[in-house]
Structure formats: structure tokens, C-alpha cells
């Protein structure tokens, strides 16, 4: 930087304007800008606004370039993975010709989390970081506090993504949606997110030269604070090994925590940082200030207050207490207000500039992105209404809703930002504006091609599930029939997703070509501004209108408070502002969490529900590892259509040993909550090997690898100990888990053989296969509710040979 100071001084906005006009600013212009800036600072110093100490600084755009590159790369990976998993639904045997061990890595259950994690944490995550690193420096008028922390943040985050991409296909997962990564990676996320990223961000705020914190920074603060809280508390686990852990929460409580996290991950990872992005980059691109700053304040605080309560709407009609669901619905509906306030604020920022939208692809992306924000935030509250949710839940309707937000809002806001940044970061023209236009249209058509059929698929399947004939019986009792009816829509989704990916490829080509036409050496503009005074003298509070009037002193005091000067002070105090945001998030969270955890009546226990046997526990771990929850729910809602199809509705007390809960969020296959005893063990064995043979029309891939992989019986003992540590009342299992598991495996294998199976499969004894454990677990599912333990007759009191010499010690 040192050499650049003397060599190159340029007002960046002049530079940008010059770039737009296609001319280069002269040195004379550059020097003039600097002198203005210096004079400004001097005047500010004399006004007492700034310190008299003048400081020179430049912005760290290198780190922004790195995050933009990573965003494009992971955007490509994430969307391609999406197309792949969408293809697996229509061609479930796409990889069936491979070695079973390879097929295992490429199943829908294992790859779907790769897609979601790549899209959310890799693509959107890197986009957030690019936006924050670029805008925070400009809004604070200072360089990021530490370049080293920035680099640690960048490489740490990429390493986490790579670790996710390796572990998830291997089946190393916590089994909770959007929180699949196992505890060592979770620890790394906490360090990188809060330690490197958060530390760097807050120190930059602390060292800023701009007194007022612009509203985009508020959204960034809320993002960093809330994501930290969500991540830490949802991922509290007891490790069993490097790649396995058990959640400290079980059943209903785990579900509440997970969707408190899941919904707020959408809120504070995919919404608030992108709103910050909107409030910064949209005015920049439109070259006019945000429509209403007042509305942005209301938008911010309303979102922070409301979002955090809304999570339980993901669990309507489940075993979660009804008060919590009502709570979630109520606050979700209220989210309409701020969300649309934000959308209107964004769109009206373009007032008087709509003519630019026709010619500027950046603004095109922003306009459509904000429109999708409005659409998805209208639809979200709609889906949270219980009666609507009864139809939409577990169907593709939710998937369409999520993708209108992800592809439309997050994707398009990111693309708009990248196209705006590319010429500025690489100090050259965008290689092809026409290609950007093509990207815009392909993206728009791709989204529509994706979501419209999937909305239709969701509503179709939801209606088929609940359709009854005149006699009150299910019209479509065969679940597969409802799946088959929507496969044409799934094909359309593959096409839409493919078109969207082509758009991302165009972006990548455009970015590479722009980068290739960069100057041999980047110019580093140097700015001069005064340091902020530590003690800032606020403007005097104007006297109360009631001063001197014949009223109580309290009335005068109230009048002063309502002038809201205190809030203006908050807006320039990062520490206080952060504390207030954190308090808002935590207080709201506790309102839901405390009663669910501490009031026993919320999770009534059922005496007949017992912990899993060692083999069943191992089988459950396989169920989690294979990602079965991505297609199967374990939650029968109290509705006729569900109880007729699946059996008695699920009770909260049935899940007290489920760590993690596996209620799922989508039924690509049927619910499994009462699967135990429904089919023979041999049926399951055959079904794993070739699902379509046992269930014609099924889109489930073959899980043949489970039949040949050997179960690691030696691992079971420590898992039993971990479950016991978390409250499962084990006894003999604590010492004999392996032997008990082997005994039960022999019983299950004998059942299979008796029902038509063979002793060995592909040269391996079936009693040692992983499938046996999974079958043992599946045969247990939902049966405890009906368990009737045969009372054991009391043993006759042994007659002592002689009376005890001493009385037993009281215990």
C-alpha cells in the first residue's frame, strides 16, 4: 500500500463514472479529489466531528475478489448438484451400474445435503462475505481491520465447504436439515464465523471513520450475532467419535431447536445479509439513495423481532405443543408487514430510474431479485397458516417456495452484485454486457420453468394424499401412485434447473474473460480522512415543548424520551447496538424454548416407550447416515387422510429417545412412523436391494450396498454409553451391547431366512450386514405405543438361612 499512496490518488466514484463513460480520469482530476477530501476532513476536524489526526487508507479489495471468485465457483457447483439430485428423482437408477460402494456415495439421500449446503453456505455464504467486505469498508470509510483475519476467514470457510463436500457423501452427518455437518466441522464454523469473520467485522466497525452506522451495517450485525447463537445452540452434541455424535436434545425438543435454527437460518443467513446487500448495492447501482430511510429502520427492527419467533410453523400438526405452533403462525403472518415494507423500499429506490432498468443488467437482476423477495415473503406467511400448511407440508409446494427465494432472491441479488462489482474489482470493463443480459433472461426463464411445475406437483400430490371416495376411504391408497403422477413435473424441474445452470456458466465465462482483461497491476486508490473523536458531542436535545408549561415534570420527561434522540445515539454505538440485537433475539427465543424444555406436560412420557436395543440404535444411526429423512417423514399428523394411510397419529412421548429427531420435511416416499411390523423383514431386505421390484413405480434407489457392507459391532458399545449419558435408561446394555446386538442380528437374519431369504448374500453372512441393523430399527418404528409388557410374576422371597446379624444400612 505504501508505494501506492504517493503514486495513485483517485476518487473511486470518479473512477467508476469514468469507467462507465469509457474514459480514464486524468492525474489532475485525481489530485483535485484528494485535496477536496483533505479539505473536508480539515473542516470536520474544526467542527469537532473528527479528530484532527488525518489518516490515509485504502480498501482491501483483494479479499472481495477472492470471495467473488468463490461465489461463482460454488454457485456453479451448488446449482449443478441441484440438477443432479433433481435428475436422481426421475432416474433413480442413474448410478446403479457402479460399484455398490460408489453408488452409496451418490444416492439422493446423501447428495441432497451436498446440494443444500453448497447452495446455502458455499454460494450464498461467499456472496454474503463478498458483499460485507466490500460495503463495510466503504460504509465505515476504513480498511478491514485485519487482512490476515480476512485470509483466515476465506481459506477457513473454503476448507469447511470442502470438508462438507467430502463428509456428506460418506454419510457423516448429524441428520438435521441444513445442520448436517458433524461436530468437528461445526467447531471450525464457529471459529471461522465468529472468530475470524465476526472479529474482523466488529473491529472494523470499532475503527470506522463514519460516525453513523448505515442501515446495511445493522443487518450485518444482526446476521453475525444471530447465526452464531443459532449455530452454537442447535449443534450442541455429545461426540461418539470424530464422525458421529448425538444431539443433546431429543424428539420434540430437538425438533423445536432444529426449526428454530432452520427457519432463522433462512432469516439471518439468506435474508438479513441480502437485505444489507440490497440497501448498499441498489442505491449504488441506481445512483440514488434508498427510497425511505425511515422505512428501512422499521424494516430492520420488525424483522429482528418477528423472525426469531416464527420457527414452529415448520412443525404444524406435529407432536410439538399446539401453543408453540400457534405462536409461530401468528408471528409468521405478521412478517408480511416488514417484508413487504422492505420490498417496496427497494423497488421505490428506483423511482425516476426505471429507464435505466431496461438497459442495465445489474438493475434487472436487482428488480427481479427484490420481486422474488416480495413473492416468497408473501408466500412464507401464507404457508405458515395451519390450514394451508396442512395441504402444503411434506409436498413439493415447500420446495417451490424455497427455490423461488433461493434462485430468485438470493441468486439474482448475488448476480446483480457480482456484475456491478466485476468492473470495479478488476478495473476494466465487463467483458460482455450482452452475455449478462442472456444470463438474466436464462435465469428468469429457468426459475419459472423450475417453480411453476413444482408448485403444480406439490398441490397435486397434496390433494391426492387427502382425496377420499364417497365411502370415506382413500382414493389413492398406493403412495407410489401419487409419486408417479408428479414425475412429469419433476422432469420440467430438471429442465428449468438446467437452464438456470447455463446462466451461471455464462456468468463464470464473463467473469473469467473480465479478469483476463484486467490491468497488469491493480491501482489502489488512497483516501484521506480524519479519525473519529473518542468523545463525540451529540447535538443538544431540543427543549421540550412542554418546558415551562403547567404540567407534571414526568410529562416533560416523557416528551423528551419520545423525541427518540436516544435511538440516534444507538445507531452510532456498535457495541450497544449489537447487545440490543442479541437481546432481542435471545429473549424471543427463550419465550419458545423454555416452556418446551421445562414444562413436562409439553412432552408427556409414555410408559411403554423404551430405549432402542443396541442393534436398533446402530440401525437408526444407519438411517441417519443414509439421509433417509430426506425422503421419508416419521410424523403422522392427526388428520383422517394420514391416520388412514399410516396409522395412529404420532405422540410427543414416542420420540424421547430419538437423537436426532427424524420427522423429515418432505415425503418423496411414505411416512415411516409406524413402519414396524407392517412388512416382513425379508420384504425390507428385498426392498433395499431393488425397491422397484417390491414396490413397482418407486423412485427409491437401490441400497444394495447395505446388504454387503459389514456392520461394525464393536462401535455399538460406545454409542450405547453416549445414549445412556444423555438419559436412556440402559442397564445390561452398558456392558454387553455388542453381544446383545449380535444375538438380535441372528434373530432378524433367522426371520429373513425363514421368510425366503438366504444365509449369505454375495458370499457374506446376512446376519453381519448393515441392512440387518436397519431392518431391526425399522421393525421397531412406532410399535412402542402398543407394547404390552407381560407382567413378570414376583419372585418368591428367598428364605434366609439365618437372620441377618446387622440391620442393612439405610440408603
Amino acid at each position: 500500500m505504501g508505494s501506492a499512496i504517493g503514486r495513485w490518488r483517485l476518487d473511486p466514484f470518479q473512477e467508476l463514472a469514468s469507467q462507465r463513460l469509457g474514459k480514464t480520469a486524468t492525474d489532475g482530476e485525481k489530485m483535485k479529489e484528494v485535496s477536496v477530501a483533505s479539505a473536508n476532513a480539515s473542516r470536520q476536524a474544526t467542527n469537532g466531528l473528527q479528530s484532527a489526526v488525518m489518516e490515509s487508507f485504502s480498501y482491501n479489495d483483494g479479499i472481495v475478489r477472492m470471495f467473488v471468485t468463490a461465489t461463482i465457483l460454488w454457485g456453479l457447483v451448488g446449482t449443478l448438484a441441484g440438477v443432479l439430485v433433481a435428475t436422481l428423482l426421475v432416474l433413480p437408477n442413474l448410478f446403479s451400474g457402479f460399484n455398490p460402494n460408489i453408488t452409496a456415495l451418490l444416492s439422493f439421500g446423501r447428495l441432497r445435503p451436498v446440494h443444500t449446503n453448497a447452495a446455502i453456505f458455499a454460494f450464498a455464504g461467499n456472496a454474503i462475505f463478498a458483499a460485507i467486505y466490500y460495503s463495510t469498508q466503504r460504509l465505515c470509510k476504513c480498511r478491514m481491520w485485519s487482512s490476515t483475519l480476512g485470509l483466515l476467514h476465506f481459506w477457513g470457510w473454503q476448507a469447511i465447504i470442502v470438508a462438507a463436500a467430502i463428509t456428506l457423501p460418506l454419510g457423516i452427518t448429524q441428520g438435521k436439515e441444513y445442520a448436517e455437518l458433524e461436530w468437528p466441522i461445526d467447531l471450525a464454523i464457529a471459529v471461522v464465523w465468529l472468530g475470524f469473520f465476526g472479529g474482523n467485522f466488529f473491529m472494523t466497525l470499532w475503527k470506522r471513520r463514519e460516525r453513523h452506522m448505515y442501515v446495511a451495517l445493522w443487518f450485518y450485525i444482526a446476521t453475525i450475532v444471530t447465526v452464531t447463537v443459532l449455530h452454537v445452540f442447535n449443534n450442541l452434541v455429545v461426540p461418539v467419535g470424530l464422525g458421529k455424535s448425538y444431539s443433546v436434545y431429543a424428539g420434540v425438543q430437538d425438533a423445536l431447536m432444529q426449526w428454530w435454527y432452520g427457519h432463522n437460518a433462512v432469516a439471518f443467513f439468506l435474508t438479513t445479509p441480502f437485505l444489507g446487500l440490497m440497501y448498499y448495492f441498489l442505491p449504488k447501482a441506481a445512483e440514488r439513495p434508498v427510497f425511505s430511510y425511515k422505512l428501512s429502520i422499521i424494516h430492520f427492527w420488525s424483522l429482528v423481532f418477528l423472525y426469531i419467533w416464527a420457527g414452529p410453523h415448520h412443525l404444524h400438526y406435529t407432536a410439538l405443543p399446539e401453543w408453540a405452533c400457534t405462536f409461530g403462525m401468528l408471528f409468521s403472518v405478521m412478517l408480511w408487514m416488514p417484508s413487504w415494507g422492505g420490498m417496496i423500499n427497494g423497488l421505490l429506490t428506483l423511482r425516476g430510474a426505471w429507464n435505466k432498468v431496461t438497459s442495465d443488467p445489474v438493475l434487472k437482476f436487482f428488480v427481479v431479485g427484490i420481486t422474488f423477495y416480495g413473492m416468497s415473503t408473501f408466500e412464507g406467511p401464507l404457508l405458515s397458516v395451519k390450514s394451508v400448511n396442512a395441504l402444503s407440508h411434506y409436498t413439493d409446494w415447500t420446495i417451490a417456495h424455497v427455490h423461488s427465494g433461493a434462485l430468485g432472491w438470493n441468486g439474482f441479488m448475488t448476480f446483480g452484485m457480482i456484475y456491478w462489482l466485476l468492473p470495479r474489482l478488476y478495473q476494466t470493463r465487463l467483458w460482455s454486457k450482452k452475455m449478462a443480459e442472456w444470463h438474466f433472461w436464462l435465469g428468469t426463464i429457468g426459475i419459472l420453468l423450475y417453480i411453476v411445475p413444482i408448485y403444480a406437483a406439490g398441490i397435486t400430490q397434496g390433494l391426492m394424499w387427502r382425496a377420499m371416495d364417497d365411502l370415506g376411504r382413500m382414493q389413492y391408497p398406493n403412495f407410489v401412485e401419487t409419486v408417479q403422477s408428479i414425475i412429469p413435473f419433476w422432469w420440467a424441474r430438471v429442465l428449468g434447473g438446467g437452464v438456470y445452470v447455463v446462466g451461471v456458466v455464462l456468468l463464470a465465462i464473463n467473469a473469467i474473460a473480465t479478469w483476463m482483461s484486467r490491468p497488469s497491476k491493480y491501482e489502489v486508490p488512497v483516501y484521506t480522512a480524519a479519525r473519529l473523536e473518542r468523545r463525540y458531542q451529540d447535538a443538544p436535545v431540543p427543549p421540550s415543548k412542554l418546558a415551562g408549561a403547567p404540567v407534571l415534570e414526568a410529562a416533560v420527561a416523557i416528551d423528551r424520551v419520545t423525541k427518540m434522540d436516544w435511538h440516534r445515539r444507538w445507531e452510532r454505538l456498535p457495541l450497544l447496538f449489537t447487545v440490543l440485537t442479541t437481546a432481542a433475539v435471545i429473549v424471543a427465543s427463550l419465550f419458545e424454548i423454555i416452556p418446551t424444555f421445562l414444562i413436562r406436560s409439553n412432552v408427556p412420557t409414555i410408559a411403554s416407550v423404551k430405549p432402542y436395543t443396541p442393534l436398533e440404535l446402530a440401525g437408526r444411526d444407519i438411517y441417519v447416515s443414509e439421509g433417509c429423512y430426506n425422503c421419508h417423514s416419521q410424523m403422522i399428523r392427526p388428520m383422517i387422510a394420514e391416520t388412514q394411510r399410516y396409522g395412529e397419529y404420532s405422540k410427543a412421548g414416542e420420540f424421547v429417545y430419538d437423537r436426532p429427531f427424524q420427522w423429515g420435511s418432505r415425503r418423496i416416499g411414505p411416512d415411516l412412523a409406524r413402519e414396524g411390523g407392517r412388512q416382513s423383514s425379508f420384504w425390507h431386505w428385498e426392498h433395499f436391494n431393488n425397491p422397484a421390484q417390491r414396490s413397482p413405480g418407486s423412485v427409491m434407489p437401490s441400497y444394495g450396498h447395505l446388504l454387503v457392507q459389514r456392520l461394525n459391532f464393536g462401535e455399538i458399545q460406545k454409542r450405547i454409553h453416549a445414549a445412556h449419558f444423555l438419559g436412556a435408561p440402559y442397564d445390561q446394555e452398558l456392558t454387553d451391547a455388542e453381544a446383545m446386538a449380535r444375538t438380535q442380528a441372528e434373530v432378524v437374519a433367522a426371520e429373513i431366512i425363514a421368510q425366503g431369504g438366504t444365509v449369505s448374500f454375495e458370499g457374506k453372512l446376512i446376519k453381519e450386514s448393515t441392512a440387518i441393523a436397519l431392518i431391526a430399527y425399522m421393525q421397531r418404528m412406532g410399535k412402542d405405543l402398543y407394547r404390552v409388557d407381560t407382567p413378570v410374576p414376583p419372585l418368591a422371597e428367598p428364605v434366609p438361612d439365618k437372620a441377618p446379624e446387622t440391620a442393612p444400612m439405610p440408603r
Binding site: A37, K141, Y279, P289
Partner: protein, 62 residues
């Protein structure tokens, strides 16, 4: 002890209490926002598109 305290609470009213808390906060924020002077909002909203430092009370010095 905390458990005892919580168990004594009538959580059936939590939705209403939460709504009241939100309502109060919302009214306070809306009130605060409406009390902002036009000059202040103009200054704040110009921060991203201005190169010079903006004073919260006195405005941009450029």
C-alpha cells in the same frame, strides 16, 4: 429453582404476552422512525453514495 419458577408460569398466555412485547417494541420503533427529521434521513441514506464522511447531526461536509 428456575424450573420451579417456570413451572408456575401460565405459558398458555405466552402468545399474547409475546404479541404485546412485539407490539410495544414495534410502536416504539415506528414512533422513533417517524420522529426522524428529513435532513437526517437524507444524510443517512446518502452514506453509501457519498465519498465523504457524514456527520449524523450536521450532515456531509462535502
Amino acid at each position: 429453582m428456575l424450573k420451579d419458577v417456570i413451572c408456575k408460569l401460565d405459558y398458555s398466555n405466552f402468545e399474547e404476552i409475546a404479541l404485546v412485547i412485539f407490539g410495544c417494541c414495534f410502536v416504539a420503533i415506528v414512533w422513533g422512525a417517524t420522529r426522524l427529521k428529513r435532513e437526517s434521513t437524507d444524510r443517512f441514506s446518502s452514506i453509501p453514495i457519498e465519498d465523504s464522511v457524514v456527520d449524523p447531526w450536521k450532515g456531509s461536509e462535502s
